[in-house]
Symmetry: D4
Subunit: 217 residues, 8 copies
Amino acid sequence: MPSKFTYERIDKNKALLLVVDHQIGLYQMARDQNAIVMKSNILAHAELGKIFNLPTILTTSAETGPNGPLPDEIIALHPDAPFIRRNGEVNAWDNAEFQAAVKATGRTQVILAGITTDVCTAFLALSLLDAGYTVFAHSDASGTFDTKTAREANDRMRAAGVQVLSLFAVACELMRDWRSTPGTKEMLPYFDKYLPEYGALARGHDAALKNGIPSGL
Amino acid sequence: MPSKFTYERIDKNKALLLVVDHQIGLYQMARDQNAIVMKSNILAHAELGKIFNLPTILTTSAETGPNGPLPDEIIALHPDAPFIRRNGEVNAWDNAEFQAAVKATGRTQVILAGITTDVCTAFLALSLLDAGYTVFAHSDASGTFDTKTAREANDRMRAAGVQVLSLFAVACELMRDWRSTPGTKEMLPYFDKYLPEYGALARGHDAALKNGIPSGL
Amino acid sequence: MPSKFTYERIDKNKALLLVVDHQIGLYQMARDQNAIVMKSNILAHAELGKIFNLPTILTTSAETGPNGPLPDEIIALHPDAPFIRRNGEVNAWDNAEFQAAVKATGRTQVILAGITTDVCTAFLALSLLDAGYTVFAHSDASGTFDTKTAREANDRMRAAGVQVLSLFAVACELMRDWRSTPGTKEMLPYFDKYLPEYGALARGHDAALKNGIPSGL
Amino acid sequence: MPSKFTYERIDKNKALLLVVDHQIGLYQMARDQNAIVMKSNILAHAELGKIFNLPTILTTSAETGPNGPLPDEIIALHPDAPFIRRNGEVNAWDNAEFQAAVKATGRTQVILAGITTDVCTAFLALSLLDAGYTVFAHSDASGTFDTKTAREANDRMRAAGVQVLSLFAVACELMRDWRSTPGTKEMLPYFDKYLPEYGALARGHDAALKNGIPSGL
Amino acid sequence: MPSKFTYERIDKNKALLLVVDHQIGLYQMARDQNAIVMKSNILAHAELGKIFNLPTILTTSAETGPNGPLPDEIIALHPDAPFIRRNGEVNAWDNAEFQAAVKATGRTQVILAGITTDVCTAFLALSLLDAGYTVFAHSDASGTFDTKTAREANDRMRAAGVQVLSLFAVACELMRDWRSTPGTKEMLPYFDKYLPEYGALARGHDAALKNGIPSGL
Amino acid sequence: MPSKFTYERIDKNKALLLVVDHQIGLYQMARDQNAIVMKSNILAHAELGKIFNLPTILTTSAETGPNGPLPDEIIALHPDAPFIRRNGEVNAWDNAEFQAAVKATGRTQVILAGITTDVCTAFLALSLLDAGYTVFAHSDASGTFDTKTAREANDRMRAAGVQVLSLFAVACELMRDWRSTPGTKEMLPYFDKYLPEYGALARGHDAALKNGIPSGL
Amino acid sequence: MPSKFTYERIDKNKALLLVVDHQIGLYQMARDQNAIVMKSNILAHAELGKIFNLPTILTTSAETGPNGPLPDEIIALHPDAPFIRRNGEVNAWDNAEFQAAVKATGRTQVILAGITTDVCTAFLALSLLDAGYTVFAHSDASGTFDTKTAREANDRMRAAGVQVLSLFAVACELMRDWRSTPGTKEMLPYFDKYLPEYGALARGHDAALKNGIPSGL
Amino acid sequence: MPSKFTYERIDKNKALLLVVDHQIGLYQMARDQNAIVMKSNILAHAELGKIFNLPTILTTSAETGPNGPLPDEIIALHPDAPFIRRNGEVNAWDNAEFQAAVKATGRTQVILAGITTDVCTAFLALSLLDAGYTVFAHSDASGTFDTKTAREANDRMRAAGVQVLSLFAVACELMRDWRSTPGTKEMLPYFDKYLPEYGALARGHDAALKNGIPSGL
């Protein structure tokens, strides 16, 4: 335990979003989460860049091979983002173009997720940490062969100093206050889409206001 | 599969409630469910008799020994119910006084739960079935050593023709219509106590009506 | 085991689709599946009626109370379907209007799903069976408090003669042949949306055809 | 591993209790624990303040919206506690009134729990740690979307130096000696209510003393 | 569901006990239960024959090969029991000597357990059923490769009409009344050994009687 | 429970083996088992035909599309088997060529496995049952989206009268006696490959014979 | 990660064994492990002191109350060990007599286990660490309410610097070499009793040597 | 958290591979993973040395006793590797010959796996760390009694500074770039064998290129 802990929160003005190897072939390897959930989380990850106006970088590994391309939905969200198609490097940091793109943003915090967690996410996260970045691994949007591998990959990153966070935590740490911009107006529809139990709570609340009658409790 | 299925529902005018060996010592054996849940379900079971005004019979096995007495809360709910303290018979049906008490009610449907599921509930359920009763095993209020044993005991009963039901199913099949008596007025507080996620839904709905403002979604 | 088994398949010309109490309040009770998956399955269920042009009936229970309305997405899919808003009956079959709507379709097979599985789905399924229908419970689109309750509710239905099927099984038993209408053209986009691991398989295949290069294996 | 570990125990004269966003709407999001258990643990958390006479602060997030109010039971336990209703800040520490209330207690140890674990509990816990407090996260009374998220949130807090404790550990570390005040007299009924397996142990013991006969073992 | 169910209980005067391939090599294959539990259950199974004075037959499969011999503890319990060492037949019923030994007992009910559940137990159970016996599979004392295989093997037997029972259910159905012989005197030490949570209940009860003081609750 | 059960065992002279849609694309959908295990079981299934000299039929669904071809290993095992490449029919029984191939074998028992369990295996199994075959679903070699779907598909088949068996049970019911042909000589290497814990038992036994020294126990 | 790690192994000449509150009442609270396993592990823990001739100290909490006495088996193993019966202190270190007994041994390493893990084991482990001892928590012999609580308690101890070890690791780290005393002669029977899968391995090996014949593989 | 993290990757020119006690007897103890998976991972581990041309050392513990020899497959892969047969030392580092063999390689990074994880892997890993090596525990190729023991052993190693990695992570960190040697040509067949879901992805991709037609999506 450190004698003194400093809480460095994600700051939308300092943070960069990385979409790492969320390719449709590799997606078949991501079995630590239900496939519907995994896809929803991948799209939610990419959309964070849009809503919080974060510099976003896309990268893929050998996308003309079995790993396949990124889902069209992600490319449609970020048509103008730097997109580095690696042809050999497993660790994206080993690709000079990718490294340059990251550095060009001038950001000091990195939010990332990828498939697989133990390779694509972890290798890059550790390299970024080594390079001096504060690293936030968005764990819901990373996937790998099984839950044991996911847990051990996250443990490895955490032991090195990476912050491992859920979708809700990343989004709320970015937003900070429901009265901000983006705030309620942008984030409620986002949660309605990607955390539907929260969306249903809001829908039910509004339905009660519109034409509800007392429950009788 | 029967060529013709007849759905015999629980009828509050035909049903009898049995509280079987829900003793505080035996309660320690019930590990297929969390202990807090198990206790809640045991009390919910006993309270069904109260709310639906069902003839209710209590029985225990060797209660001055390690099995211990029934929880005071159950006795307080049914101070006047027939209470058969068995001193040796494992299967309550083997106790003449118990059998007489059941027959005296004139009921043809039996709702029962007990600890342990594989012995106290299952043996009695099978004897009742053999004796011609329609038997409803309230599975949430039965407990046993582990989930495997619970599942196999329920499978055994089901194969013989016992209906195995959840708390919510027993309660709703008894109520049938929220406009009945008992209906909303009696059952919402009951669900608020024993199915608190449903209670919270009603509380949240009423809170919205009282002083809610639109969510902004 | 029956001496002779007859396999009655779902037939798109004989089948009726029932959407039972898929309300946004009750949705909070459905915890045997991940919430994202549950929502996806509910929408997939409703969309089956659209794609296979099945007579579809919607019903809700006390929707101005805590149970809340159906999701807008479902209503938008079936704007002209009979929609029976029950005010008290737990078992939809007890509602004369609902029963009339079902009978009016002239269909003999019923595909249904609802929340909760043990009450809304099971009670209705058993009544339909009793009334002579062949009943198909689409289990992926039913939800309840926990996995134990879901399993026991499905076991109860199965013991009575209900067919309990997954989304993929319901859809494929309706389609039968990829060369039919609806067939590949309608069903691949449907699976891409609701079984994304299957969609990704098709996407990856098509990407390989478009600009793939050999893997080197 | 630190070369020298100092064990700072919870001290009832130094500790402050925080009840964070235990709201009835947010409660629907807490699915890493059974809903009955979650509710029991939330009430157990609030009652710790009462029994150990700890300064207690209540806070909610946008309680007129979907998140809803605190359960009446909690408010009834702490009618005079500072109660900060936040209208936008996700992290309670960002609310000046809340921060002032915490500081006004003069306490140096904080026991907290909230919904959701990864946002409401973790963000505040990390801010408190940063501000120099010793932080005890009562994990049984925090809830979130699923067990993976709960575990990762607790791992994040632990890595920063937060102590993550069960209900039994918090209560026993506060009590220290059964002969204290509060001690057996206050804590046995508390455990009987919130850890019923322990309560049943005491009930069974007392029943044996009252009218037990040897088991025959 | 049968129109009329007859509950045939295990009767200690009609029952026969079979110990099937509980060999120390095969024991390594039994991974659906913890190894300590598996061993305890195997010994508990064999000891049932001793306590209830049931005709008991031991059999092994190719015991000089990798399957290995029975544990010495079992042989010591039944030094004079018929012991059929099969050299090839997988299904013990295919061995004439074994079949003769079973028939020689004149019993009509068979309690059996073996390793593996899906082969040694299931094949023999189905053959016994076919031969007209009432068959009770003691599931806690059968083991196999994994829980899925165990469940499916038990499901297969149950569908054919085998009764699948836990250790506690077998023992209690044999005993029927704690006042019988064997009864409390024989069975409490048995449960203390093989169901230690029940034994601890009795020990704790007796300790309270001996020198307990009130809990203070 | 049937009043009289007849145990129809798999007979190598009556049985037919079906390899159904074990295609490399569909294999990605099979997530109810670990991928390594799934592949091993698929190959074990195909090899049964070889070892027991069973008439074997291969079939695929739209293999030039995303479902992909059968693994080369399977085709290499059965170069001369009838191989029906279906272009549209989901249920192989709907394909006239396939149906003819099955009938041409003159066999009355069918052992089958496929991907997915709920569609490819279950639909065909039910059709075969309807057509009068005795059907054995080899559950270890069928795969589907998740364990819940697998369990429900097997339950559906079992309720109709299909025998659901593990790899070990299928192989042993075919072999019957270790002294047969095929027997020890053929089956030990088979188990060494596909049930390696059993293979290791034999290897360890032989190693002890070769150069072991007493353990000292 | 520490810049330099020193591996301090358990040394039988430096180590002390503590048996903490392994009482038969508290044993009912230990539900994170199967009850049979828990009892076996508790006895294995106590027997370590015997085999390795470690100074051993027993302690209980309020043993005339519901917590009950230690199992007779443990007392029989250590009739002459210091036995501190605490009447109020939850943390044994707060009891002067216990602290003195520990110090009197002159040992610097402590192996401990207790019920519950989060209170009896963890509190004492942290106090011992604070007092300068090297602490080894034998996790298999500690038990608590559920697996989540066990994991969090072990995480708390580990974060502070406690070594959390399995039974096999504690025993092997004490033994170090099978040729030592105690070594094979003492430890094989010990493992045969407490890790029966290892015992069966030795038994099978010896059986092969005695009268085995080649497997035929 | 370290103020500065340095990411030391596995370097094929600095790394040494250790195969520790992967013996066929001990293999029966490895139950935290499916037996088929465990065997596959053990062979994958040994083959890493072959593909990456890493100095490899084999060691066994008392291989003429119950632990048994290494699988023939491993010895065949490394016929010329140093092979240290320990006769007593549990921790391989305590064996002078083994220690000399390790030092003789001149390597500074060690990749190891063994059975059991908590003893054979962990003890050696901690000794290597103490001796100044950077240690990579390949967790997929270590096995032990159950998942709890595996997790705790890995946690113990991680807390000391060991890197705990999956098979995919070890292989990819060694390879670094698919264009290296070894690269695609060597590693795709390796993954096809040991991570068959990845192999199937490549097979499906190549099949599409060879004779695929568009899916129709």
